[in-house]
Structures are given as C-alpha cells and as structure tokens.
C-alpha cells in the first residue's frame, strides 16, 4: 500500500517537474542542511541543559522560551525542504534503508519529547532552577541527544543507498 502511494506521487506532474528541474534538489538539500544546524543545534543545547551538561545556571523555562521560537522556525524550513525532496524523488527513497531508519528515529525523538512534555515537564516550576534536573528529565535529555545523532547520521547515509545490510537488499524493494 505504501509502495502504491509512493508510485502515485512519482508520476504526479508536480513531482516530475521538481525532480527534473536543474537546481531544485541543490537548493532543497542546501536549505535542509542549513536549517538542520538551527534545529539540531538548539535542541542539542536544550537536551544538554536537561542532561546537566551545559547552561546549568539558566532556568529551564528561559532556555525554552528564548530558543524554541528559533528552533520552530528551523523545523518549518527543515520539514518543508525534507518533504519536497521526498515528494520529488519518492522512488529513490522508498527502497532506501537509511531513509526508513531515519523516519523511525524521528518517531522515537518525537515520542520522547511528547513523553517528557506530558510527564516530568509538568512540574518544571519546581526544578527549573536546579543545575542538575531530576532523573527523568536528564534521561529525556540523554535519549534525545543519542537519537538526534542517529537522525543526522542516517540522514547523511541516505546518499549511500548501497551500504546497507544484506537482508534489506534481499527484500527487493528497489
């Protein structure tokens, strides 16, 4: 079913024209990398604050209110350019091991952020001035750091669609 969706997009005139434009991919990937720095750079500092690795003396809510608007701006550009690259070359990404691994890791970072938001962040007023946050918050920070490294790494690896496990090739998706 997923394959049918990707194949359907693949023959859309708008997908084809973006795919065949001379510099479309160049602009998209370059903007994707620049906005990635904004997103991952800021999230990295947020995670390090939670993990107790940096900005220990800055209240947690100040880190969030000061930096998150910029991070969200980066997310908008990053998601938009990422979506357009996928939209313009669906059948390049469909059989790509690293692409799917990256999507899976993005689900993990989103779930981790949502869990943090709905659990320990509810009591942030009580601990936001502590240089070392409660264990649950530190754990959320470490998990996010590790999985964001995974997101960036697997994103870079999508260029190496042949460097994948044999069992993936045996699936015969390409």
């Amino acid at each position: 079913m997923l394959r049918a969706l990707f194949e359907w997009v693949d023959v859309m005139p708008s997908s084809i024209s973006l795919r065949e434009s001379l510099n479309g991919y160049v602009y998209l990937l370059t903007a994707h990398v620049v906005s990635m720095g904004l997103v991952a750079g800021i999230i990295g500092y947020w995670d390090m604050r939670l993990a107790g690795m940096a900005l220990k003396w800055v209240p947690v809510s100040k880190v969030k209110s000061g930096l998150f608007p910029w991070m969200y701006a980066g997310v908008a550009v990053n998601a938009f350019t990422g979506f357009l690259m996928l939209y313009s070359q669906p059948m390049r990404y469909y059989p790509n091991f690293w692409f799917w691994l990256k999507m899976g890791l993005l689900v993990v970072v989103a779930a981790n952020a949502a869990y943090f938001h709905l659990s320990i962040e509810k009591t942030v007023d009580e601990w936001e001035h502590d240089p070392v946050a409660p264990f649950k918050a530190r754990l959320a920070g470490y998990v996010s750091l590790v999985f964001w490294v995974g997101v960036i790494t697997t994103g870079r690896m999508t260029a190496y669609s042949g460097l994948v496990p044999q069992w993936w090739i045996d699936l015969g998706l390409g």
């Binding site: 620049v34 720095g37 991952a40 990295g44 800055v58």
Partner: protein
Amino acid sequence: MSLQPFFEWMGGLRFSAFFLESVWPTPIVQCIHLVSVAVFVGALLLVDLRLLGQGLKETPLPQVARAAEPWLFGSFVVLVVTGIPQMSSTALKQYYSPFFWWKMEMLLLGVILTVTIRRKMASTEESQLGPVWPKVVALTSIALWTSVTIGARLIGLLS
C-alpha cells in the same frame, strides 16, 4: 604561487588512497562532520542570538559566551579533523571547485571574526557595547558561517 602542487601531493598520499579505496571510512567521517556542524551551529547561535537581543536574553552575555565556548571550539576541532581526509582524498576536485575556495575564504573570515571582535565583545560589559555593534557582529557571524555551510554542501552537489 599556485597551490596546485600542494593539492596534487595531498591527493597522492597513502592516507588519501586509504579513504578512496575503503568503503566505510568516508561515510563515517562525513557523519561525524555533520553532527559536529549541528553542535557548532548551536554554540554559535547561542551567542549570536544573544548579541541580537534574542535567545537567552535574561542571562548575562559573558555567561552565555562561556557556556558556548568549549562546544564551539571543541566541535571546530572535530570539523577540521574530519574535514582533512575529505579534502585530501578528493584533492583535485576540491582544487578545481569554486565552492571549495568560497568556503575556505568565508571560513577564514569567520574564524577571524569569531576569535577577535566577537570574542572580545562577548566578554565585555553589555552597557558599554551600545545597541548597534553587537547586532552587526552577530549578523556578520551568521552570514559568514551560513556561507561556509552553503559552500560546503555545493562542493559535493555541483563540483
């Protein structure tokens, strides 16, 4: 003086051949390079946003700068170390790429700005800085380092 002989020498090193002939070292180095880009940009923006009167605006500027500095310099060292094999293993491609030279020029200007004016400014009492110069320095810093990133990406895409 042409730098071409230097690039030819670099491309001929056993070190370069190792990266060209083996499968995993180049992508691994590229991944570490890209993760370091994120760390570097984060550390850079912490201070540049603060100079613009944004970001961690309630935290004193020197304190923000001190928090960012080890990560800024640490990630820069990793960027250089992981950049060297990528440059040397494709030395002549780099030499003939206008984007490589663009990146290096912007990099040089970025480093000079960061270790001179920007560094001095970040450790100065804010009331002495006035409203204009911190913003000029921050925007110049963001423009230069964005140019470095764009140039870097275009070496791979258009050279």
